[in-house]
């Protein structure tokens, strides 16, 4: 193991300190943005576990996110008695199951084929969300009330205010992102990278490529569903906008802009996306035009994403994630 660079240590301390103190120094509007950044960061990290680390580009990554969002919304609405943490646990579990179902039918394929097929499944779910009006309220969507957090021994915390929501989201997102980081370092995580680099040799070494791909897909879906659930928890509203085509585009954009080769890339991308979108949409309503242009520029001229401006690209062959 290489020792951490002193700058990275100082840097992470500064960032962590800022995240802890942010609600005290920032106006409420900015806290909202911070929460959004954190939720999108978790979502982008879950996507990049599959895309950057697993080398699998899924177009339909709005599917687990949307499933998580709708699951959380319906649980909040119909089973308000369930403790918040348990609800999010159920949401994550449902995301995992979604991942197993979609993954078992799609991870045999690679490249454009895999991308397309996951997208087909997302559209299938989108069609259900759009048309099953009595449950989902289709395009109109429905609002839910944010439940309070009740912890054993610690008591109840109201979530009506934005500050407790901020700290709760920070705790969940930080835990989930750390868990993802360490998951990538486990032997299983290494075998995922192995299969990304070469999927012909591992079977001869006794690895089950299908099972490894299915695992990384399902775990990514679990995390994405958690992000979707958190988004509904924060936003208190759900509609088909959480599972339509744009959603998949957004997560892809965040990972690509930030840089999919580095673990921190998608987090940077999420921050960039939320902040720039917020800034641009106050200037122009042609946000999609700018988004498309950013996409093209990054693909053509900034292959490593924004993170490559700060952290030089690794020389090892593992740096070419997802480019085959």
């Amino acid at each position: 193991m290489k020792r951490a660079h002193p700058y990275s240590l100082v840097g992470s301390m500064l960032i962590f300190g800022f995240l802890l103190l942010a609600p005290r120094i920032l106006p409420e509007m900015k806290i909202h943005l911070m929460i959004e950044v954190m939720i999108f960061a978790l979502w982008a990290v879950s996507f990049n576990l599959l895309f950057g680390h697993g080398g699998l580009l899924a177009f339909g990554f709005g599917a687990p996110y949307g499933v998580g969002a709708y699951a959380a919304a319906l649980l909040f609405q119909h089973f308000a008695g369930i403790p918040l943490v348990l609800t999010l646990g159920l949401v994550a579990l449902l995301g995992f199951l979604t991942g197993i179902i979609i993954g078992s039918l799609s991870v045999r394929l690679k490249g454009a084929y895999f991308a397309l097929i996951t997208f087909g499944f997302q559209m299938f779910l989108y069609a259900i969300a759009l048309k099953w009006y009595s449950v989902t309220k289709g395009d109109d969507g429905f609002s839910v009330t944010r439940p309070a957090l009740s912890l054993p021994l610690a008591g109840n915390f109201s979530m009506a205010n934005v500050v407790p929501v901020y700290y709760f989201t920070l705790a969940i997102v930080a835990l989930a992102i750390l868990a993802t980081y360490f998951f990538q370092k486990t032997p299983l995580g290494n075998s995922i990278a192995l299969v990304r680099e070469n999927d012909i040799r591992p079977p001869f070494l006794g690895y089950n490529v299908y099972l490894i791909r299915l695992t990384v897909f399902s775990v990514s879906c679990l995390l994405a569903a958690l992000a979707g659930g958190l988004f509904v928890f924060f936003n208190e509203f759900v509609s088909t906008a959480v599972i339509d085509m744009n959603v998949s585009m957004v997560v892809l954009l965040m990972a690509i802009i930030g840089g999919s080769d580095h673990f921190l890339g998608p987090i940077l991308g999420a921050a960039f996306y939320v902040l720039v979108q917020n800034w641009l949409s106050s200037l122009t309503n042609r946000w999609f035009l700018v988004m498309g242009a950013i996409f093209i520029v990054v693909v053509l001229y900034l292959e490593g994403g924004l993170i490559s401006l700060f952290i030089p690209k690794k020389d090892q062959p593992g740096g070419s994630a997802g480019r085959k």
Partner: protein
């Protein structure tokens, strides 16, 4: 009108839409088969075809003239995109191409909204093709019959070109194995360029002939894109026959879906996709990958 006439009319509607999807999907699936490029911006070309048809019909007053002009302009746009953007990504592999064309789809959709506005537009069918004629006991719009006839005409032309000419032979071989065809001394990128331009023309033609039947709106590209995705998955990547069969299946499924269970019409085609994938992951006519 009896039950059978309704079923027959529904089947005809399905055929019309299926042929439109096929025209768009054929270029997409051939380029996918030859170069492995999933050109998502292809659906935007269909949309551009319809919008240019609107503008040309406004200026020239002739639907037939815009049926010729619009595909040519769209082909020019497509060629410029290929030459200056897409070509730079060929060496980089699948993912950057998908991302680039995705970005292009967004930009073109937004530009279309800027230029032509967000209200749906209408192109009227030429007087020659308006009205309805008696058809198997009922009546049927002439224009829809024209779409079917015209698409079959294009289909036959395409088949003759691909099956009977030397260029067609090389294209089919390149879909099968582009590397090997290249190694035998054929300049595959030139043929790919031609297929790309041809596919753009077909997509734009589909857009033009769809314009009088469906209204022109900025989401029409997304709609046909979804159908095309389902078609190339169900039919098998790179398979023209597969695309044809799957396009008709999807067209009929949508048509009958709307007749029987309107709420689930959209779900049916994705259900079809899931079933085909579960049974034959490579699609109905796809090669093993």
């Amino acid at each position: 009108m009896g039950v059978w006439e309704i079923y027959l009319t529904t089947a005809m509607h399905g055929l019309v839409y299926g042929m439109l999807i096929f025209l768009v999907a054929s270029g997409l699936t051939l380029v996918l088969g030859m170069a492995g490029v999933l050109n998502i911006a292809h659906a935007a070309l269909y949309m551009l075809g319809a919008y240019f048809a609107y503008t040309f019909t406004q200026f020239t007053g002739s639907f037939w003239l815009s049926l010729i002009l619009s595909p040519l302009v769209v082909a020019l746009v497509a060629v410029l995109i290929e030459r200056f953007l897409l070509r730079k990504t060929y060496a980089k592999g699948h993912v950057p191409q998908i991302l680039l064309t995705f970005g292009l789809l967004y930009m073109i959709s937004e530009i279309v909204r800027m230029v032509w506005g967000t209200n749906p537009l209408r192109v009227f069918e030429p007087p020659l093709l308006s009205g309805e004629i008696p058809f198997l006991g009922g009546t049927y719009p002439v224009y829809r019959l024209f779409i079917i006839g015209f698409s079959i005409f294009i289909l036959i032309g395409m088949l003759l070109f691909l099956m009977r000419t030397r260029v067609g032979l090389i294209i089919r071989a390149a879909v099968h194995d582009a590397d090997m065809v290249g190694a035998l001394g054929t300049n595959v990128p030139v043929y790919l360029f031609a297929v790309y331009a041809g596919g753009a023309i077909l997509a734009a033609v589909a857009g033009v002939i769809a314009a009088p039947m469906l209204s022109i709106f900025s989401g029409m590209g997304d709609q046909i894109l979804l159908d095309c995705f389902v078609v190339i998955i169900v039919g098998g990547f790179g398979s023209l026959l597969g695309a044809f069969v799957a396009a008709l299946l999807v067209g009929e499924l949508q048509s009958y879906g709307v007749l029987w269970i309107p709420q689930l019409a959209l779900v049916f085609e994705f259900l079809l996709m899931a079933v085909v994938l579960a049974i034959r992951p490579t699609g109905l006519f796809g090669e093993e990958i």
